[in-house]
Symmetry: C2
DNA sequence: TCTTGCTATGCAACGAGTTGCATAGGCAAC
DNA sequence: GTTGCCTATGCAACTCGTTGCATAGCAAGA
């Protein structure tokens, strides 16, 4: 389990409440690690009990109070230890690949519109990544360690989307050919 | 949930026992859909109850009896219906990306050996994919629908591995630069 | 004014997935 | 000749993740 670690990284980059974390997981971090607000609140409570993070109650006017968390010493130590452990192989769940192989026992043409929808959403995501790159990492700018590492992760996302788009074009061509 | 559907596709491609399915999920199918034998046995029982698959007891000498399952009419119908439903967006869990961002709060150099291990295992997988492609889909051969679709999924795996290798080289260069 | 939506946290129940263990015969190696 | 691995299936207990719902004040628009 690495949700704890993903939360720690996010809190080190910027302290925040459970709600704010949930929104970050919907946006940037969610591209390589998803989590719902329920999971986040549960894990935050456990991490606070274990002393990995410290909470501060913030009263707000006009909206509910919030608890702002930040990473504590033991949390940083745990993260450091985790960094040095080997990662378990990622478990992949590529539903579209299952569908493509399933199409052999049905009508391959029936998948075309579904694949086109995927293609569009990947194209949109690539566009967002590229816009984010231009905004946050313009050519020629000097970056610190944190930014360099964020940038290399973003480049991975960009290359993944480019590759996926090309593959989906290949899939579409194949489906069109088979639907004759 | 699509484990049922992945199992159905596998049984349509080739009937088999729970044990055999578990081994297929360790090998080919497991590259885009993982499952343990426990999950498989549980789901098989449910699918048999629901009439999606039919079982035949096979007595073997020298080894335990086995139940060989094959897809039944209602299973094919369910698969056909599922094919026409839109897929939920895949939830990604890219642990290495979390680690890379975490390295900003520790020593980036400490990640190098881990990334190199990943690089090696992706290179090995790419080699296996390419060997499988040469074996099963040699250039110039005529393929039926099923093989065409298996091939396009394999091409996706190959392109994914190539892209990942290039990205990991980028990550390694970045880590070396930051560890100065 | 009524509804919709946002901030902010949480309970309860369920379903999916993992881990450890059990059985049980056969085969091969050391 | 005992140890360990392979086939083949399964129970029990647990953790992880999802879904539906609840609260509660405030803001904006129909």
């Amino acid at each position: 389990m690495a949700l704890e670690h993903a939360i720690l990284v996010s809190l080190l980059e910027q302290p925040g409440s459970g709600y704010e974390l949930a929104r970050r997981f919907d946006r940037s971090i969610g591209r390589f690690w998803t989590a719902t607000h329920q999971q986040i609140y549960r894990v935050l409570r456990r991490m606070e009990t274990d002393g990995w993070i410290a909470a501060e109650e913030i009263a707000q006017d006009g909206r509910p109070d919030k608890k702002v968390y930040s990473a504590a010493g033991p949390g940083r130590a745990a993260l450091s230890g985790w960094l040095r452990e080997p990662v378990e192989p990622e478990t992949v769940r590529h539903e579209l690949a299952v569908k493509i192989r399933a199409a052999a026992f049905d009508d391959p043409g029936a998948l075309i519109s579904e694949v086109e929808r995927h293609r569009e959403s990947h194209a949109a995501l690539l566009a967002r990544y590229l816009a984010g790159e231009q905004r946050d990492f313009p050519a020629g700018s000097t970056l610190d360690t944190r930014q360099e590492l964020q940038h290399v992760v973003l480049r991975g996302g960009i290359e993944y989307e480019r590759m996926t788009l090309a593959w989906l074009d290949d899939v579409l061509a194949t489906l069109h050919r088979l639907a004759h």
